[in-house]
Amino acid sequence: MKYAFFVGCLIPAREPHYENSVQKIAPKLGIELVKMEGANCCAPFSIQSLDYTSWLALAARNISIAEEMGLNIVTLCNDCYESLLMTNTILKENKETRDKVNRILADVCSEFKGKTDVKLFSDVLYEDVGLEKVKDAVKRPFNGLRVAVQPGCHLSRPKRLHSSQRIGTLALDQLVEATGATSVPYDRKEACCGGPLRGINDEVALQVAKQKLDSMKAAGVDSIVTVCPFCYLELDMGQIEIKRHLKEEYNLPVLNFAELLRVAMGMDLEDWELKAHRIPITKVLNIAEAR
């Protein structure tokens, strides 16, 4: 299984530990990640907010690089996923818009042809690797670990972008349970973490995060597991800020799913990766036991 690997901006810049876990587990599950040379920022919702055409053109340029490689795109970030998937869908469906974008791309010797698909890493694990193979790879199950799955908005919204096969949150729940942990239901599970308002309105962003954390805490979970680098930041670092500004303390460790699976597969996290987490995760990792 070979994919054009779209790593985005935020992960290499702020969360190299997330990328490292993906690089560790991918080859063991038969996934080959090929770098996309020259790719630019996905153009997230902030750029879509500024200028719709610039957004489409930048995202389309990325897609055209994968088309040249003859590979489907896999991304690690819910926002990259939304931007690339939405652009791919709009330009495949609408010839007028596609022609307009291709007139812009002609200047950089690039063309959107509509020949590739965009997937999130968890889609690849669920659809292409398959749940059984993921389960087989687990050597140290997280039996007894109670997890609040934070799917993040763009895993499955807007729903018109997602084929019926992609069942979003349910797939992520099953992947988490494949590691032996339990995905605990909680109120407002599908709601946003607040992250998109970071840097625009920090106060509201924190209050939205607090709504989620309150409901996770009420469900009595040991840990939060997400696939989105923005949710990760908002819920991990956000807990420190909420403690400072809103005087509420949760102490809920936040893991990326790739980290959870890596440890379950028998590979320890390194010291620098543990230190990247603001809320310490060691007590969660200690739950994993060799079969």
């Binding site: 810049a13 702020r14 630019n40 902030s46 907010s49 340029r61 308002l197 840097g199």
Partner: protein, 142 residues
Amino acid sequence: MACIQCGRCTSSCPVARIVEEHNPRKLMEMIILGLRSDLFAGQLPWYCLSCFTCLDRCPQGGDVGEAMFAIRNLAVKEGNIPDGILVQAKSLFENGRVVAASKMALIQRERHGLDKEPSVDVQAVQKILRKTRFNKLINKGK
């Protein structure tokens, strides 16, 4: 405009629970009534999280979430750009990325055997953004 003012968008919105000023139903009403200047002013266009819950729940199959992007594009044309977004836009034009890597991350990548940051064709990005007049647009911000 297919909006029937049922308010399901507002009841679905995580921000509307916190900020009274942000009310997607009222935003749609303002569009219907053509209250341009109110719609594009101040914080009003910039509360939306782009979580698309309203879009998925609209009984008219409407596009409240997408309408927000249209509102923002027009607000931007009038120079209403939040600082946080302006920083991202400038970084995009200069580096081809909205978030540039910190020194710490670059050192960590090298030390722990991760590839160097993937290369970005900044020239191609700038050519595209000049053609779409994006660079002129962001100069309208503060």
